[in-house]
Amino acid sequence: MVHLSSFLLKNYHGGYVVIRLALAGHKQANRPFYRIVAAYNKRARDSKYIEQLGTYDPLPNIYNEKLVSFNFDRIKYWIGCGAHPTQSAAKLLGLAGFFPLHPMTITVAERQRAQTLQAETSTAEEDMREQSQKEADV
């Protein structure tokens, strides 16, 4: 394991800034809650960040919504200063409309749609086959 103490010095600037999801420290089992955060790359996921830029609640609420919040002004600033968003952060921002839609969201949606269509056609074929067998028996 790389010894990280030299990376965690206060004014270490060798790394770069990322915009990523960090687990908010609520310490409840099976109830995650993420903060969208600008942090240095080599820091641990949940440890000290530079600035919080939003939140993301992955479990849907009573109206079946997943709530996300963004501070677009500060996100613009950090991306202007050269921050890289992670994949999930980029996907969320794409769904929000701030970024273009991430290609993986589109491909995953297409795959799911293809799967459901296939399942429907296979069940329709089975029904057809059953009907033809019954006719043949009769």
């Binding site: 613009k76 600033y77 991306i79 202007g80 200063c81 970024f99 273009p100 290609p103 491909t107």
Partner: protein
């Protein structure tokens, strides 16, 4: 003809530049731990890739990265413009002017306050000086009065003495006085009871 084949997007799939085998990077086993029994003959393979989907995905990714690059440059420009405006824009000059005016006004107010307090202080000092002078004067008067009283007291005593001196016994009066004393015997005895009644009439010895 070769060049045209290489230009079309499908050619990127057929000649991959990097064929990376996934290595074990993280996990809870350390270096010397053996492979688990359930995973002994396992050969890990990457998930199967659909070439049509891959082509489409590559196109989408290239578009996405183009847009992202453009956005990044836009945001960088905006940040720089804001910084520039902050430091050397029209607003900065106005703000500097306003701050200078505020500073001048505050300094003037401060000077006025100092003047006012100075006047008050001078008045107070004057009063205190006068008080002190008055006290000095009063003390002097007091001292003089006391001295005068002392002098009068001494004079009174002297007069008293002078008057007493008339009744003194001298060598000339000695015989006369002795005879007078023998002629008038004085009796200083008296009686007193518990109630405080004094009785000066006593039996002569």
């Amino acid at each position: 003809a070769n060049q045209s084949i290489l230009h079309c997007p499908a050619a990127r799939l057929l000649s991959p530049r990097s064929a990376v085998l996934l290595e074990a990077v993280r996990g809870r086993k350390s270096r010397g731990d053996p492979v688990a029994k359930s995973k002994e003959g396992r050969i890990k393979e990457p998930p199967p890739v659909d070439p049509v989907e891959m082509v489409v995905l590559r196109e989408r990714f290239s578009e996405y990265q183009l847009i992202m690059r453009a956005l990044r440059l836009e945001f960088k420009e905006e940040v720089l413009r804001k910084k520039y405006q902050e430091e050397t824009g029209s607003m900065a000059e106005e703000r500097a002017k306003q701050e200078a005016e505020e500073h001048r006004a505050l300094m003037a107010w401060n000077d006025q306050e100092n003047q006012r307090l100075l006047k008050l202080r001078m008045l107070r000092l004057q009063k205190e000086k006068e008080e002190a002078e008055r006290k000095w004067v009063e003390a002097d008067i007091q001292r003089e009065q006391e001295q005068q009283e002392l002098i009068t007291q001494r004079e009174r005593e002297i007069l008293q003495l002078q008057e007493d001196a008339k009744n003194f016994i001298t060598l000339e009066n000695l015989d006369q006085r002795i005879e007078e004393a023998l002629d008038n015997p004085k009796n200083y005895n008296f009686a007193i009871n518990k109630q405080g009644r004094v009785v000066k009439q006593t039996v002569q010895q």
